[in-house]
């Protein structure tokens, strides 16, 4: 052992010469005007967590109201506003920027081995656009709320007297924020990869961000123009969506879903990328079918553009169009399933260690499985006609968006937390929080499948007494879920205050971000790092002196067991 320790003691940690990014400069200005992608990532992280808190509180209020079939404390109007804002805040302010703009911003340049994204100023602008967009959302709340649903369907959105203009303006601005992030990522990955970082040596998280960025760049402008037209409709009465003037309200739905279906992949693709990293790292095995996973991200991104009509099966589209959209919808499940099977194959015979991030990854695979499979019922014409606009849909998209994106986001957050803030958290409590979230989530949303298939429509404040049991089950689950998330927040805050200092590589991961110190130095790498294929774990061994993993060039046969050293031993 002592021999081993001396051998690895000289292991090199890149970037040791500089102060880390958190301490290299001080004062609020050094944050507000920073061009450092890491600080921008951290600001994004704080911003989206605040939005998540806001949206989460609204969710709990909604669920609380639904505890009884009759009015508990929310009027019908208030209820409408509440679910609209919950949906809009969660999708536009939280889910869409969550993984790409917070975790991605921080990690993409480091994982790629470069000093920053291609356009640091645009990156900062993207953050401030997000802030502006959020302010417009707040304005919408103050101006009397919004009750159109997050989908803003016309003609209702052109006639309601709630703050549609402020909210659409917000969506428009947030769209640009999202476009800036995506554009920056595409350019960074295309033109800045250092020598040795070939396309197929990129970590899969980067592939997923690449695919996500394609969607952000191609779909978001259409949302932008839709928002503008809606605003023009309300202010000038241009009539494009108004049947009384020859306009067509269904055109709005086409425009909206042309963006918003691809947008669900903006939410889920980065989550899949995170899970690919987690599964490989915590199975200590090269990812199975690297190229398939990489290509399937791109395939999902492209196919995702062809299926928007499945939201409009009952909006009066032609039978032919509906059939084609239905068939195309099914094709998306192929690349999705490829990923799931590859994760399972990676775990097969791997040395799985159940650290917190891995617990989240496993939860993701299970929940996304349910979410994805129930999507097939909605994509099939015969069943969707019955399930459309019921709680079945609500359950389906919560399984993908919460069970998928949120869970993966939390997994990624726990995984990269030591890197971002240089502190470890309490493993045990973090795992307990994960378990509570998992149980609470299923208790909340599984009953909703039953509710929906029995005919409970979505977006209703009052309901028939026959549904009481499942609604109460769901509300209780939601409270449990809320507690789990609070515990999770507590664990992370505790780590910031009291956490043990994190080593450069606490999990034995093989990608570049773990080669610089925790937290990374201001410029990530002083020199272009040496890049080899990702997901090779042979030369990464646990070193008790560092309480973390270090690299050795090659391992003699007899020391093989070192590679599989139990990770628990240092937690």
């Amino acid at each position: 052992m002592s021999d081993n320790a001396s051998r690895t003691a000289t292991a090199h940690v890149h970037g040791h010469s500089e102060e880390d990014y958190l301490r290299c400069s001080h004062g609020w200005k050094s944050w507000a005007f920073t061009l450092d992608h890491k600080r921008i990532g951290v600001m994004y992280l704080i911003a989206i967590l605040i939005s998540f808190l806001l949206g989460g509180v609204m969710a709990l209020v909604l669920r609380a109201e639904l505890f009884t079939p009759d009015k508990l404390f929310l009027s019908e109007d208030m209820y409408n506003q509440m679910f609209t804002l919950h949906g809009a805040v969660m999708t536009f302010l939280f889910l869409i920027p969550s993984i790409p703009a917070a975790l991605g911003n921080f990690m993409l340049p480091v994982m790629l081995g470069v000093k920053d994204v291609a356009f640091p100023r645009m990156n900062l602008a993207s953050f401030y656009l997000w802030v502006f967009g959020a302010i417009f959302f707040l304005m919408a709340i103050l101006l009397g709320g919004l009750d159109t649903g997050w989908t803003f369907y016309t003609p209702y959105s052109t006639t309601t007297n709630t703050a549609v203009i402020a909210a659409s303006m917000g969506v428009f601005i947030l769209g640009f924020s999202s476009i800036f992030t995506g554009l920056n990522f595409l350019v960074t990955i295309n033109t800045m990869r250092p020598a040795g970082m070939t396309w197929f040596r990129m970590p899969l998280f980067l592939w997923s961000l690449y695919a996500t960025s394609i969607i952000q760049v191609l779909a978001t402008p259409v949302l932008g123009i839709t928002g503008l037209l809606l605003i023009a409709e309300r202010t000038l009465g241009i009539g494009i969506f108004d049947p009384a003037r020859g306009g067509d309200p269904v055109l709005f739905q086409h425009f909206f879903w042309f963006y918003s279906h691809p947008a669900v992949y903006i939410m889920i693709l980065p989550a899949m990328g995170v899970v690919s990293e987690l599964v490989s790292t915590f199975s200590r095995k090269p990812i199975f079918g690297y190229r398939f996973i990489a290509y399937s991200s791109i395939a999902i991104a492209l196919l995702g553009f062809l299926v928007w009509g499945h939201h409009m099966f009952v909006s009066g589209q032609s039978a032919l169009a509906a059939t084609v959209f239905s068939a195309l919808t099914f094709t998306v499940s192929i690349p999705s399933a490829i990923k799931v099977f590859n994760w399972l194959a990676t775990m097969y015979k791997g040395a799985i260690s159940l650290e917190t991030p891995m617990c989240y990854a496993l939860a993701f695979i299970f929940l996304f499985g349910i979410g994805g499979l129930t999507g097939l019922y909605l994509g099939a014409l015969a069943t969707d006609v019955h399930l459309h606009d019921t709680y079945f849909v609500v359950a389906h998209f919560h399984y993908v968006m919460v069970g998928g994106t949120l869970i993966a986001f939390l997994g990624g957050l726990h995984y990269w937390w030591p890197k971002m803030f240089g502190r470890m958290y309490n493993e045990m409590w973090a795992r307990i929080a994960c378990l509570i979230v998992f149980v609470g989530f299923n208790a909340t949303f599984f009953p909703q499948f039953v509710l929906g298939s029995r005919g409970m429509p979505r977006r209703y404040a009052r309901y028939d007494t026959e549904f009481v049991y499942f609604h109460q089950f769901s509300t209780s689950g939601a409270m449990l879920l809320g507690c789990g998330l609070m515990l999770c927040a507590g664990v992370l805050i505790h780590s910031l205050l009291r956490g043990r200092k994190a080593p450069a590589n606490p999990w034995g991961s093989s990608t570049l971000e773990w080669k610089c110190s925790s937290p990374p130095p201001h410029h990530n790498f002083d020199w272009p790092p040496v890049v080899s294929a990702p997901y090779q774990y042979d030369h990464i061994v646990y070193d008790p002196n560092h309480q973390g993993y270090v690299e050795v060039e090659d391992i003699p046969e007899e020391e093989d067991e070192l590679t599989n050293a139990p990770v628990e031993s240092h937690s």
């Binding site: 051998r7 470069v114 350019v187 494009i240 049947p243 003037r245 020859g246 002083d526 030369h539």
Partner: protein, 366 residues
């Protein structure tokens, strides 16, 4: 015995000199996070192309709306044709195509480091943009005076009202002229070459706007002289409009009725049924006029949204070209660094290209 990973410090000294973050001594325009000027250029160019893709998608929503309404209400488009003057559209098309030429030439001048030529070409490009806006202002104000507005406000009149619309639209240009002239004077008196040249060029461009207004006002006159028709370009349009207005005003009720049927995509059927019911051809004619009016209004909604957004892009383009002008006066561009001129050039060509689609789709549909 195995060794540790190759200590990168051995590699560092050689690579540091061209990639080091604090080491921009030899190239003031190379950002620290790029490895080389070429990489920086490639990144900028690719970024600009992607941005153009988003622009295309942004407009494609409108082109989609256009296509949908053109297929569901072809009669509205046929009817709208009379209100637009293709010669003005053509004049603007020529101006923009010419500005694309000068912009492309400006890129070349930047690459060759021909500073003075670059400044001149950018000034011409900027002036062309101004002329374009001047012509557009004439068109918009004329439509305003004739009541040819978007859907809910589409109410064509026989004779153009005399409103100060053109004057109001020209206020920003007038302010720009005054401000640039003052700053030009200040620059002169302070003997600051860069300042006086910069504001001088902008002054020229601002004045070009009024050239555009002049062009917009004379084209119809010349047109009239050649074809021998009434000098006023829209006299014909006004005539048609008068008929429409007459019928429509006759039956407010008919408008509502028509509107009620508007959801049915077969407007013709609706008319036929109603006509049969009322048994009066006159009523049918009135209703037809009302329908035309309703739907033609939609055409103008699309017209204003498309040309308005395009005009907004022209304005943005003018802003960045002015910025280029300033930087070229400072002598920033040369064979080693010309990226921004190149990228703005791409943007400008796209703005032109969109107009090249808008022109036939909006003006040449008769």
């Amino acid at each position: 015995m195995s060794t540790t990973t190759a200590p990168s410090s051995e590699v560092a000294p050689s690579e540091h000199s061209d990639g080091g973050h604090d080491d921009h001594g030899h190239d003031p325009f190379l950002a620290h996070h790029f490895g080389s000027a070429k990489q920086q250029f490639d990144a900028g160019k690719f970024g600009m192309w992607l941005f153009l893709v988003t622009e295309i998608l942004f407009f494609s929503g409108l082109f989609c709306a256009y296509a949908v309404y053109r297929s569901t209400h072809p009669e509205a488009f046929a009817n709208a044709d009379q209100y637009l003057d293709p010669m003005l559209g053509a004049a603007n098309t020529a101006v923009l195509i010419f500005s694309s030429l000068t912009m492309a030439w400006a890129v070349r001048a930047a690459q060759l480091g021909q500073k003075q030529l670059l400044v001149r070409l950018l000034t011409i490009t900027l002036s062309c943009a101004s002329i374009f806006l001047g012509v557009k202002a004439v068109e918009y104000s004329h439509k305003w005076d004739l009541g040819i507005l978007w859907a809910s406000n589409f109410n064509p009149q026989a004779h153009a009202a005399h409103s100060p619309a053109l004057l109001v639209l020209s206020i920003p240009a007038m302010i720009t002229v005054v401000v640039t002239a003052i700053l030009f004077g200040v620059g002169k008196s302070r003997k600051s070459e860069i300042m006086s040249k910069f504001w001088g060029c902008l002054l020229i461009a601002a004045l070009a706007y009024f050239g555009g207004v002049g062009l917009g006002l004379t084209v119809p006159v010349i047109e009239g002289a050649i074809t021998g028709e009434a000098a006023h370009a829209s006299a014909e349009a006004g005539h048609h409009a008068a008929e429409g207005a007459h019928h429509a005003a006759a039956a407010e009720e008919a408008v509502e009725h028509a509107a009620g049927h508007a959801t049915e995509h077969a407007a013709g059927d609706a008319v036929a049924t109603t006509a049969a019911k009322s048994g009066s051809l006159e009523a049918a004619a009135i209703e037809q006029a009302a329908i035309d009016r309703t739907y033609t209004g939609i055409f103008f909604s699309i017209y204003y949204v498309m040309t308005g957004l395009h005009g907004f892009h022209i304005l943005i383009g003018m802003g960045v070209i002015a910025w280029l002008l300033y930087r070229s006066l400072l002598g920033h561009f040369g064979p080693r660094y010309f990226g921004p001129v190149d990228f703005v050039g791409l943007y400008w060509h796209l703005v032109d290209l969109i107009w090249i689609y808008l022109f036939p789709l909006l003006y040449l549909i008769g």
